[in-house]
């Protein structure tokens, strides 16, 4: 590792152990100013761990790092920030109890003798957000924001520090294309100023569009670094997963696959004040209905209402019968499954092991009348799901909170697959999931559909929606603006409805 003059940050032989878990075995990396360097790897490959080492959250077990030619071993995030590293964390690290402005300016508030100048703080945050072109209100409390908006706040927070090196760990995982575009233009600007950017994402199109250099890692080990212009998506995927993958989407099933004439789920004029209105749609057994929309268009709210988590007016028909769910219990009993968008808060018990997490929505299935759990059956079922979804773990006794983000997402999926739902609602099901796993998830969705499950897939990733759904409902401002299928289903059409340029 010579320090060529244009290398701002370099690391070699970096190792990180968490007790018996080896997260990083042998990492090296060279970052140059004014370039976007993408780190690519499967879920659990060690990307986030690497980034946390760079900003001083973790200390490496072994290895050397240099920053601008000087030895670099940050002991705390403050030190890293002082040395010119800023980061946007993958798992949101915001304080829900405080406002957007207070979060953005956290720990570098404008202050004199320790007294904060609140007016200036708000102004600085507002200017930053306006400058970045992010659609968030700096006075809102973070706890009141949707996941996507929180992600925007996280980005603003990371960008509030002047940085030589900016790390973005899956900043777009909850963003739809229009917000992502805002981020990309910010990145271009920073690049032009000479900032080095380390970028992590699982969205291949985005990576190819944005990156200058791409480093692939596998199982905590350095695999290769490529110049974007000298490589292809196929090669990168092969490097990453260790085998070739020709297709990102599994083959579509023959049309007319849907069964029967009774919709599995039909929603009529579902309305909830200030959130959504007049939502009507139906899904047939075996059909995949996409739900597309921009951040805050109200899709998650609709799904929550269907699932009995929030009250709403209107009718819901299940298999031709009117139903009314006052709680998720009733929805689950009626055969609805719901993979929620916020896995940490709504999906998982992070402090519990995988087995109870996976069985948590189907507890009655593992108990007789007596109320005693059948641990053997539970273990078998959970193990089967772990295998089916290729969840990377040593055992079923591993705590859910210690898995990587993508693997956590698979655990949520496993939990709902185990309920064998007739209608499965998926809200951003591949958020933060690597391509290999995405393919698996897509394959499973397809397979479920072919078995007759009606599927609603809410997603902010347009390619995913287009690649998978039979029909797509497009929401904007709390209403369904259009439901498209067949030839009408083009990216241009969908975006036109979603952004409101087409009525």
């Amino acid at each position: 590792m010579t320090d060529a003059p244009d290398i701002v940050l370099s690391m070699s032989d970096v190792k990180k152990h968490f007790g018996p878990v080896v997260a990083l075995r042998n990492m090296r990396l060279q970052i140059r100013p004014g370039r976007v360097h993408t780190i690519l790897g499967e879920n659990g490959a060690g990307k986030s761990t690497l980034m946390k080492i760079l900003v001083g959250v973790y200390q490496p077990t072994d290895g050397r790092m240099e920053l601008a030619g000087q030895p670099y071993s940050p002991q705390s995030p403050t030190e890293a920030a002082q040395r010119g590293l800023a980061i946007v964390f993958q798992e949101l690290s915001l304080c829900n109890n405080l406002s957007v402005a207070e979060n953005i300016m956290a720990t570098h508030e404008p202050a004199r003798f320790g007294f904060i100048n609140d007016r200036k703080l708000r102004q600085m945050a507002a200017e930053l957000v306006a400058d970045l072109g992010l659609p968030v209100n700096v006075d809102a409390k973070v706890g009141d924001l949707s996941i996507a908006q929180r992600q925007l706040v996280e980005i603003a927070k990371g960008l509030s520090h002047p940085a030589k090196v900016l790390i973005l760990d899956e900043p777009t995982s909850s963003l739809s294309d229009s917000e992502a575009d805002i981020l990309f233009s910010i990145i271009e600007r920073l690049k032009a100023r000479g900032t080095a950017i380390i970028y992590i994402s699982h969205r291949m199109e985005e990576i190819m569009r944005l990156s200058d250099d791409i480093t692939v890692i596998r199982d905590g080990e350095y695999v290769a670094t490529r110049d974007r212009n000298d490589t292809t998506i196929e090669e990168l995927i092969a490097l990453m997963v260790g085998r070739r993958m020709d297709e990102i989407y599994p083959p579509a099933l023959a049309p007319g696959q849907t069964r029967g004439t009774t919709p599995a789920l039909e929603v009529r004029k579902l309305t909830r004040a200030d959130e959504f209105a007049d939502i009507s749609f139906q899904v047939m057994p075996g059909e995949i209905l996409g739900f597309f929309g921009l951040v805050g268009s109200g899709r998650s709210e609709v799904m929550n209402a269907i699932f009995g988590m929030r009250a709403a007016t209107g009718e819901i028909w299940l298999g031709g019968k009117p139903v009314q769910f006052r709680s998720p219990v009733e929805a689950i009993r009626a055969g609805i499954g719901f993979v929620t968008e916020n896995r940490k808060e709504e999906g998982l018990v992070l402090g519990a092991a995988l087995q109870p997490n996976i069985s948590s929505a189907s507890i009655p299935a593992f108990a007789g009348r007596s109320g005693f759990l059948n641990f053997g059956a539970e273990r078998q079922a959970a193990a089967a799901e772990v295998q089916r979804l290729a969840i990377r773990t040593n055992s079923l006794q591993t705590l859910a909170g210690t898995l990587s983000g993508g693997n956590q997402q698979k655990v949520v999926l496993a939990k709902w697959l185990l309920t064998r739902p007739g209608v499965l609602i998926l809200d951003e099901p591949t958020r933060g999931v690597d391509v290999g796993a995405k393919f698996e998830i897509y394959r499973i969705i397809r397979q479920l559909a072919s078995e007759g499950t009606a599927i609603i897939m809410v997603s902010s990733e347009l390619p995913e929606v287009l690649g998978l759904a039979d029909r797509v409902a497009i929401m904007a401002e709390g209403r369904i603006k259009a439901t498209l299928s067949g030839d009408e289903l083009t990216p241009e059409h969908v975006m036109a409805y979603a952004t409101g340029t087409s009525k």
Binding site: M309, P328, A331, I332, R333, A361, G371
Partner: protein
């Protein structure tokens, strides 16, 4: 002991190791205490004294079983000391009215269930923090207990009621049998049933539990009711041991119960803990009190030593868990 690989023995060995891993720190503390007291006073390690300890620890242990449920849910119940007192008084009053032993017993248990249920409903349905709800009901129940006798204790002379605290069965005091049975009941309910599983999940993440179809409100009410019933049983034992219902009975026992549960590894954040741990925690407290009395340690020093032992025990436990992770 042998080098054969008998699978049953291996399984037992693994179980033992798992047990040691989970409770190593706290068991070490318990054993250390026993060794110290035995070395310092020859009478400590006698059957009579060990029986003594178990009897003395019974009231707190049973209350702590109930408390463990509540803490597992991420809640707290500060009213159990008052429930202990009300239960004793309810029993004494019922007996005084001549309803007979069994009806008085049932009435007392029902009173405990109602008081616990009130805590649960206020917490679950009105969405008030359980800390404040049970601080309030702690005062309310403590006021209620004094109403029938205007603060005076109520004598109990019913021989069956008295037998609970002083009788024996198969050579073991009845009170110890009760602790054992209740330990097994709570242990099995927690570790083997859907009810227990739901408690762990809800305590770990309430929101996720709701989405998984757990009726969180009902569960909460059920658990506070269970805690109330456990406290009522503790109150029965206490009044039986004292031949009377005292209006200041059980004062600040909630802290001992919480200490027992937390010593035993129950996390106040919810979702983590076991009945075995709580039992060990309660034993530590009991051994400590007994041992220091045996050594005639003055009262103020007892307070200090007790605090230090709690600190050391929890620290040993946290350290052992960290090393394992």
């Amino acid at each position: 002991m042998t080098q054969t690989t008998d699978p049953a023995a291996t399984a037992r060995g693994q179980q033992l190791r798992a047990l040691m891993l989970q409770y190593g720190g706290i068991l070490m503390a318990l054993v250390a205490l026993c060794v110290i007291f035995t070395l310092m006073n020859g009478r400590f390690m006698t059957v009579a004294n060990l029986t003594n300890i178990l009897q003395q620890v019974a009231v707190v242990a049973i209350a702590a079983f109930g408390m463990t449920w509540v803490i597992l849910l991420g809640e707290i119940d500060l009213s159990i000391g008052s429930i202990i007192a009300v239960a004793g008084m309810a029993g004494a009053q019922a007996l005084a009215m001549g309803v007979g032993f069994v009806p008085a017993l049932l009435f007392t248990l029902a009173a405990g269930a109602v008081m616990g249920g009130i805590n649960g409903v206020l917490t679950a349905k009105l969405m008030l923090p359980s800390f404040i709800v049970t601080v309030a009901t702690m005062g309310i129940y403590r006021g209620v207990v004094s109403l029938p006798t205007n603060g005076a204790p109520a004598m109990i002379s019913d021989p069956s009621w008295i037998a609970i605290g002083s009788g024996s069965f198969l050579g073991l005091p009845i009170i110890i049998w009760i602790v054992l049975v209740l330990f097994l009941f709570n242990h099995i309910l927690l570790s083997r049933t859907t009810f227990g599983r739901r408690t762990y999940l809800t305590g770990g993440n309430r929101e996720a539990a709701l989405y998984s179809g757990i009726k969180v409100d009902r569960l909460k009410i059920a658990i506070f009711t269970l805690s109330g019933v456990m406290a009522a049983i503790a109150g029965i034992l206490l009044s039986s041991r004292l031949y009377s219902a005292q209006t200041n009975a059980g004062m600040s026992y909630e802290l001992d119960a919480i200490a027992a549960a937390v010593l035993g590894g129950t996390s106040l954040a919810g979702g983590v803990g076991t009945m075995i741990g709580t039992l060990i925690g309660a034993l530590i407290i009991g051994v400590m009190n007994n041992g220091m009395n045996m050594l005639s340690v003055p009262y103020f020093y007892q307070l200090i030593v007790k605090g230090l032992v709690i600190l050391i025990a929890v620290w040993l436990d946290v350290r052992a868990k960290k090393r394992r992770a």
